[in-house]
Point group: C2
Chain length 397, copies 2
């Protein structure tokens, strides 16, 4: 949207113009709080922790071969190919590459989409490390309201690793998929007069039924993360956005407060509602790569990071059939590639990632607004590119 | 709203539960961004300007006689009487009194309501002082889209002082008042399927018709402020929230970014959408009282402050018949009492104020959620109280 007011053909409005479809998506990803009610994830009032620069020449020219391709592509070409809005590379603690495109600049927040889940998973790991949450506890013992739902007899760990067995479809291509009832419940807009379904994330979660045995297979279903969000709020007595502020945004010295969308009851969307700046997600990736330290100070318990780094069950993950991650796993809402460098990542639809390569001491943060939601379409020109950059940076050492 | 999720009887939702009616109002005023889409008015990333404390004993016991009353009331009693959520008093540059009640604390933002107008008026004065806006210009020459509206042949100054003559009723008690069509246009929620009216603030403004001669009488109508907001964006090419950030929030060293509600097109509500912290509005009042300086540095042009301080036409104001301000005037969206101390104020429904007493070098900022919107009900226990505090503080010098 441009102009005061924007021209009719440039308008992005809720919900009639499909604000989350391409090309509207390219604008909406930078303006979520102007489209939806949000809560604030406050940075520290006192100030922030500056990042240092040590820019490296030649990254744009680094070549790689996309999956299943015969001809090489340059890093720079891959950015356009993937509708990149922002790209940050940190190596050995310094920013070596930073690029803003599309609607983004250094102080604009971009929708993190399902990278939000990895933040939620990290909060859970921190509370476990602090002794405030028991990963082996049964969910109904923490949130009795979930007793009769599929989550009731799952362990917290199963929810964290999405190995619950849920009669729930997140297939966006199916108009009868459960995700649409979930969206209707979560939508902060007033309900239609004839609406009789659940209101808000938490009421919906109580309706999710069990499909089989928990713990057997990975099933990527956002409701797990919102159930986890409820668990985290219940054990701490704090709203999710306040938890993220107190446990991450303030201690990590974030440059800008972040936003998170809320349902009609003001409950933050732990499964996907975060918007943050590129550099602040760089700070998050850097702190994780540095075992929870910021400038040598331990601000996230090392145990929380160690637990995420364990990775999840490859056998459980294999059952989900992710073709671009044939050797992968999922733990604490982080994706593990189990490649030579032990890389793992936060990932969100339309191309969002925080890619952490512990061997190369490299973090790549990407915001994007690819027309296609599924990362399976984006990975072929992304994952090989990240590995090529890691090799390039290591060879310079 | 309390709990995860809040109990049904404690829920405040849009719009079925009337979130801006008492008692829901008492919660909503602190949670506007969780109820409505908003844009951010960013503080400076680098840091903020601390306020200094020199707390004064005995303020709570200061007695005053409310208008038309026979018995005295204490300052402390007046706070409860007026459903005060936050109260800050600055004297000679220091905080001498600070109190948080209701839903408010030091880092929570409260709806400023029509105090937003005074911020808009100040932005206009700054742009005039910078030579970017001509107060004598005719509106249609700046915003041609307004040519056929009532604003078309008004001067910028007439819009700033609300002496335009508009066929527009802002009587909230009348269900047929124009304010309701304005609200329908401005509402960011999707329009009903059978809605054929204007969309957003700017489309609505183009429909406002002239009632008589401009410049003759003061008429308090919010549409003037939104027309001014359009003018400000047009002459600068910047969104209103960006202007407020660049001209006030960053240079004044605000402690926290502020929020402003937007319409369905992302246009900020210059007439009433601001939410800010108590102390940050204290910083604004202090800078104005100090002729535009912060810690001795001129951050607002002195000419802008001087212009506001001139006050408006008492004759034009008298025609509006404000019983609690019999000697008042309105200029650049600031209310002038023309009392012995030359006090002037930003004011908003339900009891919001930034009250500046230049003689006593005193600023009072109040956030409130009084059940009654009109300040005419709240002034009798407020204005005499402010004058009593000013005398108390001056007597201590």
């Amino acid at each position: 949207m441009q102009g005061f007011p924007p021209n009719p053909e440039k308008r992005v409005m809720l919900p009639d113009s499909n604000f989350f479809s391409f090309p509207n998506l390219r604008w909406s990803v930078c303006h979520m709080r102007e489209l939806l009610p949000t809560a604030s994830i406050e940075r520290a009032v006192a100030g922030y922790s500056p990042l240092t620069y040590s820019l490296v020449e030649g990254i744009d020219e680094v070549a790689f071969t996309p999956m299943h391709a015969k001809t090489a592509m340059s890093w720079q070409e891959s950015l356009a190919e993937n509708y990149t809005d922002g790209l940050l590379i940190l190596h050995q603690g310094h920013i070596v590459y930073e690029s803003y495109r599309g609607c983004l600049d250094a102080h604009t927040k971009h929708a993190a989409m399902s990278m939000t889940k990895s933040v939620t998973g990290l909060i859970a790991e921190i509370l476990i490390a602090q002794g405030k949450l028991d990963e082996f506890a049964i969910v109904k013992d923490i949130v009795p309201e979930l007793t009769r739902s599929a989550f009731g007899d799952a362990t917290v760990r199963q929810v964290m690793d999405m190995t619950t067995s849920l009669a729930y479809s997140e297939n966006y291509a199916d108009p009868k998929a459960d995700i649409w009832q979930y969206s209707a419940a979560a939508n902060p807009l007033p309900k239609p007069l004839d609406y009789t379904g659940p209101v808000g994330y938490f009421e919906y979660l109580q309706t999710v039924k069990k499909a089989g045995v928990h713990g057997d297979a990975f099933g990527y279903k956002t409701v797990n993360t919102d159930a986890l969000g409820w668990i985290l709020s219940r054990v701490t007595g704090k709203k999710f956005n306040v938890l993220v502020s107190e446990l991450l945004w303030q201690p990590l010295g974030m440059e800008m407060s972040a936003d998170i969308t809320v349902d009609g009851l003001g409950i933050p969307f732990a499964g996907g509602g975060l918007s943050a700046t590129l550099r602040d997600l760089g700070r998050l990736g850097l702190a994780i790569a540095n075992d929870g330290t910021v400038n040598g100070v331990q601000v996230i318990p090392k145990r929380a990071i160690d637990s995420i780094r364990l990775g999840g069950s490859k056998a459980a993950f294999a059952k989900a059939g992710y073709k671009t991650m044939p050797n992968g796993s999922y733990r604490s809402m982080w994706w593990h590639f189990h490649n030579e460098h032990g890389a793992f990542a936060a990932r969100g639809v339309h191309g969002q990632t925080i890619y952490i390569d512990p061997t190369a001491k490299m973090i790549i943060v990407r915001f994007a607004s690819h027309p296609v939601a599924s990362n399976s379409v984006i990975d072929p020109t992304s994952l090989p590119a990240y590995e090529a950059i890691a090799r390039f940076l290591m060879n310079r050492e």
